[in-house]
C-alpha cells in the first residue's frame, strides 16, 4: 500500500515536470495551430541559462525564472518574425518541417557551443527530501510542481481575463473572423509564440535545477511534451495539467509494477501517444 501511494505521488510530482515543459507547446498549438518542433530547444536554452546563471553569478534558478521568461520571449518573437510569419498560409506539413529545421539548427548550435556533457547544478533544494511518514518526496520536485501550478494558473488567467488572452482565443477559433473584428492577427501570433517561448524558457530553468542542462535535452522532452499536448487535446491549454498527471502517474506505475518497467517507461509515452491518436484524437478536450 505504501509503495502504491509513493508511486502515485512520484507520478503526480513528475507530472509537474511534464506540465511545465508542455504548456508553451500547448499554447502554440492552440493559438497558431502549429506543432512547434523547436519548442524543446527553447527548453534546452532555458536550462543552459539556469546553469550559467547559477555557476557564473550564483543566482538561484528560481530567481532566473523571470530573466529566462524575458529573454526567451524575445527569442521566440524574433524567430516568429524571421521565419514562422512567412509560412502562415503554407501547408501544415511545411510549417511543421520549418520548425523541425529550426530545432536542428538550435540543437547543433548548442552542441558546438556547449559540447556534449550534461551540466548539473546544485541549488539547495535539489537534494532535500521531505518525509511524510513512510512517503518521501524530493523538495525540488515539489517546487517544480508548485511552479507548474502557478504557470498554468497564470496562463489560464491571461487567456480568460486579459484582452490579449481574449484576442488569442478569438484567433485560435477563427483567424479570419478575428481579423474582421480588428484583431491584428500577426501581432497576436507573435506575442503568443513569444509567450510560448517564455514558458519553455522558464521550464528549462527548472529542468536545470532538478535534472541537468544538455544540448539533447530538448529532444528528450519534445516528444513527451507532444504526448502531453496530444493527450490534452490539441489546442486545449488547461487540459495540460490533467494530461500530465495521467502521463506522469502512468509512467510511475509502469516503472514500479511492470517487470523491467523502468526501462520501457519511456516507451510508455510514445505508445500512449499512438493509442490516443488512433482511438481518441481529440484527447481530453470536450468535442
Amino acid at each position: 500500500m505504501g509503495m502504491l501511494i509513493q508511486t502515485l505521488i512520484n507520478g503526480v510530482l513528475r507530472s509537474g515536470l511534464y506540465a511545465i515543459t508542455s504548456l508553451g507547446l500547448a499554447l502554440c498549438v492552440g493559438v497558431l495551430g502549429l506543432i512547434n518542433f523547436s519548442h524543446g530547444e527553447l527548453l534546452m536554452l532555458g536550462s543552459f541559462l539556469g546553469y550559467f546563471m547559477f555557476t557564473g553569478a550564483g543566482i538561484d534558478p528560481l530567481l532566473t525564472l523571470p530573466i529566462a521568461a524575458v529573454l526567451l520571449f524575445a527569442l521566440n518573437a524574433l524567430i516568429y518574425k524571421a521565419f514562422i510569419s512567412r509560412t502562415l498560409d503554407a501547408p501544415e506539413m511545411n510549417r511543421m518541417l520549418l520548425t523541425f529545421g529550426l530545432s536542428v539548427i538550435i540543437q547543433n548550435l548548442a552542441l558546438i557551443l556547449f559540447r556534449g556533457d550534461p551540466r548539473a547544478i546544485t541549488p539547495v533544494y535539489r537534494s532535500i527530501t521531505v518525509s511524510l511518514g513512510p512517503i518521501s518526496i524530493g523538495l525540488g520536485r515539489i517546487i517544480t510542481y508548485a511552479v507548474a501550478l502557478i504557470m498554468v494558473l497564470a496562463v489560464y488567467a491571461i487567456l480568460a481575463k486579459t484582452r490579449f488572452g481574449k484576442a488569442m482565443r478569438a484567433v485560435s477559433q477563427n483567424r479570419e473572423g478575428a481579423a474582421m473584428v480588428g484583431v491584428n492577427v500577426d501581432s497576436i501570433y507573435m506575442l503568443a509564440f513569444g509567450l510560448a517561448g517564455a514558458l519553455a524558457g522558464m521550464a528549462g530553468v527548472m529542468l536545470s535545477a532538478i535534472l541537468y542542462a544538455h544540448p539533447f535535452l530538448g529532444m528528450e522532452f519534445t516528444l513527451k511534451a507532444l504526448s502531453t499536448v496530444v493527450l490534452a487535446g490539441l489546442g486545449n491549454v488547461t487540459g495540460v495539467l490533467l494530461a500530465s498527471v495521467l502521463l506522469g502517474t502512468a509512467e510511475a506505475i509502469v516503472g514500479t509494477y511492470v517487470p523491467s518497467g523502468s526501462a520501457i517507461a519511456d516507451a510508455v509515452f510514445f505508445i500512449l501517444i499512438l493509442l490516443v491518436l488512433i482511438f481518441k484524437p481529440e484527447g481530453l478536450s470536450r468535442r
Binding site: I35, F83, R86, T87, A90, E92, M93, N94, M96, L97, L98, F100, G101, L102, S103, V104, I105, I106, Q107, N108, L109, L111, I112, R115, G116, M219, L223, L226, S227, V230, S260, A263, I264, D266, A267, F269, F270, I271, I273, L274, L277, I278, P281
Partner: protein, 326 residues
C-alpha cells in the same frame, strides 16, 4: 497538336531515363577502381543515402511524411544481424529478409496510423521510431542492448565489393521508384497527395495505396539497413536509430525535390558530399547545415532543385511554344 507534343515528350523522358540509368551503372562499375579506401567509403555512403532518400520519397508521394525512416533502417539492420548471427541465415539472404520484416512492420504500423491526418501521422511515426529504439536498447538478450550486435563483414571486408552491393541496392531502389513514377501508381499517389479524400470518389483505394507505399518504402529502407550493418560489421542502437538518418533522408528529398526519383538522388549526392566535407572540417554540429538547408528550402524553394529546374525549363519552353498553341 498538343497531344503529339505530349507523347513525344513522354518518349523523350523515357529515353533520358534509360541513358541516365546506363550512365549511373557505368559510373558505379568503373569509378571505384580509381578511388582510395576513404573515398570508397564516401561513395558507399552516398549510395546508401541515395537509396534512403528515394525510398523515403516513395511514401512522401502520397503526402505522408514519415519520421520513422531511421526506425525502419535500424530495424532492418538489427533484423539482418539477428537472422545472420542467431538463426544462421546466409548474410545476403538476411539482407533481403530484413527488407521483408520491415515491410511487414510497416503494414501493421500503416494500418493503424495512415488513417490519421498528415501531421498526426508524422508524430506517430516519430513515436514509433522512439519505441523501436527503446526496445533495441532494452531487449538485451536479442539485440545486445547498448553494446549492439556484431556481424561478419560482407565480402571479407572488400570495400569495392561493398560499393557494388550498395550500387545494386540503389539500382533496385531507383528502378522501383521509376516503375512507380511512370506507372499507374503515380496517378493514385498524386491524387492522394493533393486531395486525399477526393481520390476515393474516383475509385482509388486510398488506404491500400498508402499502406502499399509505406511497405515498399520500409522494405527498401530495411534492406539498406541490412547492407549497412554488413558493411560496418556492427551496429548500436544509438547509431542505427539516429534521428539524423530520418532528417537526412527527409532534407535530401525535399532539397532535391519531392516526388521524383531524380530529386532525392541529386539531393543525396550533393548533401552527402557537403556533409562529408563538413564532418572533416567542423566535427561537431555539422547537422546544423541540414537544419539551415531545410529552413531555406521551405522558405524559398519548396519544390526543391527539381522545382527550380522545372520552372527554368518551362520558362525557356514557354517562350518557344507560344507560336504553336491556341
Amino acid at each position: 497538336m498538343s497531344n503529339n507534343l505530349q507523347r513525344s515528350s513522354a518518349q523523350r523522358r523515357s529515353g533520358a531515363y534509360v541513358w541516365a540509368l546506363i550512365a549511373l551503372s557505368l559510373f558505379i562499375l568503373v569509378v571505384p577502381r580509381f578511388l582510395d579506401e576513404y573515398r570508397l567509403h564516401v561513395l558507399i555512403m552516398v549510395l546508401v543515402y541515395g537509396a534512403l532518400a528515394i525510398s523515403w520519397d516513395i511514401l512522401g508521394r502520397t503526402g505522408q511524411l514519415s519520421l520513422a525512416h531511421a526506425g525502419l533502417f535500424g530495424l532492418g539492420a538489427y533484423s539482418s544481424a539477428v537472422l545472420t548471427t542467431k538463426l544462421g541465415v546466409p548474410q545476403l539472404l538476411s539482407i533481403v529478409l530484413a527488407g521483408v520484416v520491415c515491410a511487414i512492420v510497416a503494414a501493421g504500423l500503416g494500418a493503424i496510423t495512415l488513417r490519421l491526418r498528415a501531421t498526426y501521422f508524422s508524430i506517430a511515426t516519430l513515436a514509433f521510431a522512439e519505441v523501436v529504439k527503446t526496445l533495441a536498447l532494452r531487449m538485451e538478450r536479442v539485440t545486445g542492448g547498448p553494446i549492439g550486435i556484431s556481424v561478419p563483414m560482407l565480402f571479407g571486408g572488400s570495400r569495392i565489393a561493398a560499393v557494388y552491393m550498395a550500387g545494386v541496392i540503389l539500382m533496385l531502389v531507383v528502378l522501383t521508384s521509376i516503375y512507380i513514377e511512370r506507372g499507374r501508381h503515380h496517378f493514385a499517389f498524386s491524387a492522394i497527395r493533393t486531395k486525399g479524400d477526393l481520390a476515393s470518389v474516383f475509385g482509388v483505394d486510398v488506404v491500400k495505396n498508402k499502406i502499399g507505399a509505406f511497405m515498399v518504402s520500409a522494405g527498401l529502407a530495411g534492406m539498406v539497413g541490412g547492407f549497412y550493418i554488413g558493411y560496418i560489421s556492427y551496429t548500436v542502437p544509438h547509431e542505427a536509430f539516429d534521428l539524423g538518418i530520418s532528417v537526412s533522408a527527409l532534407v535530401m528529398s525535399i532539397f532535391g525535390g519531392l516526388g521524383s526519383t531524380v530529386g532525392p538522388l541529386v539531393g543525396a549526392v550533393i548533401l552527402k558530399m557537403i556533409e562529408e566535407y563538413l564532418r572533416v572540417t567542423v566535427k561537431y554540429g555539422y547537422m546544423i547545415a541540414y537544419g539551415a538547408i531545410l529552413v531555406a528550402v521551405i522558405l524559398f524553394m519548396p519544390y526543391g532543385l527539381v522545382g527550380v529546374a522545372r520552372k527554368w525549363l518551362s520558362s525557356r519552353l514557354g517562350a518557344s511554344q507560344n507560336g504553336s498553341e491556341d
